[in-house]
């Protein structure tokens, strides 16, 4: 046996004792992960180093499924646990272990590489320095948490799938405080990337400074009719909230109601929505999903028309389409569920954002969100609490400390008349959401 490998996964799959003649199948899953977390605040520095290994088993029988998970020392009890729960679950079409995939056949799972503490600390120091420089004495970093790690995963099924894959992730959570003569405000924000070096620190620092200083330096703006320009940091969280309409066949009714059973467009003709785990700049970089299915580039909205769905293996059977590789496992202790990887508005029809700003005759440029956006898909409403600038003839005339942008979601999506070429991502749900600058002329609620 090689160092770091053993036959626990094989034992787990064999222990399931599937009666294939009775339509039973099983999927065994193993995850190894290692991560470090560095917390720096006013009281010092904390370093956490986490090394973990976990196993999970899913049993399938006649459309039923049950899940059980544990650490290696207790893996032998998982088949009994799953079998006990199996009898009580309801049936659903398409629920069964997935078959072989191209590139499968791998057999051992090596531990992931250890994260580099030194470069993580340098990254935090660099962010602090960028933030203080951008804040010009009015901003301080109250707390910064940098987490970076890697994991390796293996999925094997009784239907012949056996695939090994790996991925990495880095997350920065910063609490920033701004102080001026008008008062003080603190805010927490989150950024993620596949690797530490891919975090856009300078851009994050400027965004954090805007987030805490704009509410102190500007004046509130009553909602008024005008052009609307949404910065990618404002637009991307809204895009992320659209995702659930495209989750397998569960979102069918919702999507049908939003498009009158396909008779209406979902959005404007230059709006295309894509999920892609390999898009350049996307924080999620992975080759396979939590069921071992290779990720695909999936177009969900093509030129304004709803065109695709995200699926796991079971939903793909019900939709009668190939699986898109969107079964996401948040942790080894949770069964996979449909989720996004990098969900973004395609910027290929985009123009430089400065051109969009120049085109803005009279209206509001939303630079930062002040709270989580409210996006109600069933109710077809949205509401953004934002700060930014009032723009006239392409020039900022006044800082806006807060205003509300709200209205019908479908009308907003169909009114987008231009997009920028400045695609940026923010963490969202199980992955990330991305958008370029969005331009909506003559919006009645801004």
């Amino acid at each position: 046996m090689r160092a770091g490998t053993d036959d626990l996964l094989e034992r787990l799959l064999a222990g399931a004792r599937c009666d294939t003649a009775a339509g039973e199948s099983a999927e065994a899953y193993e995850r190894r992960g290692t991560s470090i977390e560095i917390v720096e605040d006013a009281e010092g520095s904390r370093l956490s180093v986490v090394t973990e290994r976990g196993f999970a088993l899913r049993l399938f029988r006649s459309g039923r499924t049950a899940f059980a998970a544990s650490v290696p020392e207790a893996v032998d009890g998982l088949p009994d646990a799953a079998r006990l729960l199996l009898g009580r679950s309801r049936t659903r079409r398409g629920v069964r272990a997935a078959g072989p995939v191209v590139g499968g056949g791998a057999c051992t799972l090596a531990p992931p590489p250890a994260p580099d503490e030194k470069s993580a600390r340098e990254l935090l120091a660099s962010f602090r320095s960028d933030l203080l420089a951008a804040g010009e004495g009015a901003v301080s970093l109250t707390e910064a948490i940098l987490t970076t790690g890697a994991r390796t995963e293996r999925v094997a099924t009784t239907a012949g799938r056996d695939v090994v894959f790996g991925s990495g992730t880095t997350t920065l959570v910063a609490t920033v405080t701004g102080r001026t003569g008008a008062g003080s405000v603190s805010a927490r924000f989150l950024a993620s990337a596949a690797r530490p070096g891919e975090l856009p620190l300078a851009r994050l620092a400027h965004h954090a400074v805007d987030r805490v200083l704009l509410p102190l330096r500007g004046r509130p703006l009553a909602p008024a009719r005008g052009d609307l320009l949404l910065d990618p940091n404002v637009a991307a969280p809204v895009v992320g909230r659209l995702a659930s309409a495209f989750f397998g066949d569960d979102g069918d009714a919702l999507l049908a109601s939003r498009t009158r059973d396909g008779r209406d467009a979902f959005a404007a003709p230059l709006f295309s929505l894509v999920d892609d785990a390999a898009v350049p700049g996307g924080p999620v970089k992975a080759t396979h999903d939590g069921e071992g299915t290779p990720h695909a580039r999936t177009v969900l909205v093509s030129r304004g028309i709803a065109a695709g769905r995200l699926s796991d293996a079971a939903a793909a059977v019900r939709l009668e389409q190939p699986p898109t590789g969107n079964a996401v496992r948040r942790a080894y202790t949770e069964p996979p569920a449909i989720g996004i990887t990098n969900l973004f508005v395609d910027p290929s029809a985009g123009v430089p954002p400065l051109d969009l700003l120049r085109a803005l005759a009279r209206g509001f440029y939303a630079a930062v969100l002040l709270s989580r956006p409210e996006v109600d898909l069933p109710g077809d409403r949205f509401r953004l609490h934002a700060a930014g600038y009032w723009i006239e003839k392409g020039r900022a005339t006044e800082a806006v400390s807060e205003t509300l942008v709200e209205g019908r979601l479908s009308e907003f999506l169909r009114s987008i008349s231009a997009v920028g070429d400045d695609l940026r991502f923010v963490p969202s749900g199980t992955g990330s959401a991305g958008a370029p600058t969005l331009f909506v002329p003559k919006w009645k609620g801004a």
């Binding site: 956490s48 290994r53 059980a68 032998d76 006990l84 729960l85 109250t142 405000v185 569960d250 109710g379």
Partner: protein
């Protein structure tokens, strides 16, 4: 799980020796063991889907040296996991741990398989959901319902301290009707049968059609139900009185001993209340749990602390979401003393305003004192009587103004809050609870919320 804590004790003597051997002069630290068992179901309007069982076991070794700390965490909660974590902590911390074992080795641990009555429990849960939604036509439900049991112990340089075993039923998800969707969150520490009854009642309430009426925007006087008041106290008083807000502190720690609320208001962080979800015997650093007065007779009194903030004077509020994260000062159960007013008397005192039944979420900025409460269910109050039910909206204000405008008299009974579930701070959730009487606050600002 009842004997998990006893399992933790099996190698207590060895574990204490290992931890004490790790620590050098000037260092503090401890080891932490956790076992978490979760049996969950996806509840839909058509029944229960996808049952899942998960058991996590973890060990962490934590060292504190001056203002810095190191945590090494790994899977497994047995002697070998502890030794490996100590070796790694020693390697990174530059020490030479004492790892000699006296030969006591725990038997290879098995998964505690769900009991045979798990099927019966699933049937009972299904029946409770049916009671909540006897006619689910027009409703789409997607809830994750889980029975969670967490056992924890802390190994200090002197002893193994049991934090206790906490059980709770939790549910979270989304409830949709034709043109509306609302979040639903619930948790209780009650035993299984009463817990299911409480879940059914909460779900039935949540499934009522969302009223078309909206709260008018602007200043408004608000009577909070006991459950909703618990969320207010948690956000407005609890969070600002957690240690660790840096040199400037929070809006409340900057005014120690100041009278910020009317006399007669007593707010206590009380992890010893066994009937509430934030209960524990010892905190996650091994300090015995004890009640801490946050507001005494309306005055800022104490704050919840851990060893990093208060050293040996920690008042037992170091908490971590799980073994992977270092503990930090966090809330437990927030208990507010009752007054003498009935609900009708509070409504009468309110005159024209709002009666808030349920708050689904909230957040506060301890720096500026601004807080936001997301109201899910409320009624108009007209001339001291309940009026039309209202759709969701948002309430905002700042902590000091809201406490200053708190009506001197509060409700005569306290109720545990069922909607106060996981408190998430820095992405890390811990179970919290609350018990409060109904309260009246004047001059909050209502903002239209989700339609």
């Amino acid at each position: 799980m009842s004997d998990v804590v006893e399992t933790f004790r099996q190698d207590a003597e060895d574990a204490v020796r290992i931890v004490s051997g790790l620590l050098r002069r000037g260092e503090g630290g401890e080891a932490f063991r956790e076992r978490r068992r979760r049996v969950s179901w996806t509840a839909t309007e058509a029944g229960l889907l996808a049952p899942a069982f998960a058991e996590e076991r973890g060990t962490a070794v934590r060292l504190r040296r001056g203002r810095d700390s190191l945590l090494i965490a790994r899977d497994g909660d047995g002697p070998e996991a502890l030794r490996e974590a100590v070796r790694e902590a020693s390697r990174r911390g530059g020490g030479s741990p004492f790892l000699k074992s006296r030969g006591l080795e725990r038997a290879r641990a098995e998964t505690e398989v769900p009991r045979g009555d798990e099927q019966e429990r699933a049937a009972q849960l299904g029946a409770a959901l049916h009671r909540a939604l006897p006619d689910p036509r027009g409703i789409s439900l997607m809830l994750r319902v889980a029975s969670v049991t967490v056992s924890r112990a802390v190994v200090t340089a002197r002893e193994l301290v049991t934090c206790g075993t906490v059980r709770r039923l939790e549910a979270a998800g989304l409830l949709r009707r034709a043109h509306t969707a609302r979040p639903f969150a619930f948790q209780t520490s009650a035993p299984w049968a009463p817990a299911l009854d409480a879940l059914a009642r909460a779900l039935a309430d949540a499934a009522r059609p969302v009223p078309a009426h909206r709260a008018a925007e602007g200043p408004v006087d608000v009577v909070f139900s006991p459950g909703a008041a618990s969320v207010f106290w948690h956000e407005a008083v609890g969070h600002p009185l957690e240690a660790g807000w840096g040199e400037r502190g929070s809006v409340l720690t900057r005014v120690p001993r100041a009278a910020v609320a009317p006399p007669g208001v007593f707010v206590t962080a009380d992890p010893t209340r066994g009937d509430l979800p934030g209960h524990y015997l010892a905190d996650d650093e091994g300090t015995p749990a004890r009640p801490v007065a946050l507001l005494t007779d309306g005055c800022v009194d104490g704050l919840v602390t851990d060893r990093r903030a208060a050293g040996g004077a920690s008042n037992g509020h170091a908490r971590c979401g799980d073994f992977r994260r270092p503990p930090r000062p966090r809330l437990s159960n927030l208990v507010v003393s009752p007054g003498r007013a009935s609900r009708e008397e509070l409504l009468e005192a309110c005159g024209n305003g709002l009666y808030v039944r349920e708050i689904s979420a909230g957040h506060a900025d301890p720096e500026s004192g601004r807080f936001t409460l997301f109201v899910e269910s409320a009624d108009l109050v007209r001339r001291g009587a309940l009026g039309a039910p209202l759709g969701p909206f948002v309430l905002t204000s700042d902590v000091l103004t809201a406490l200053r405008h708190l009506h001197a008299e509060s409700g005569d009974v306290t109720h545990p809050a069922s909607g106060l579930g996981l408190c998430v701070k820095g992405g890390e959730g811990v179970a919290v609870g609350g018990a409060s009487p109904a309260i009246l606050i004047r001059g909050l600002t209502a903002v239209r919320g989700r339609s």
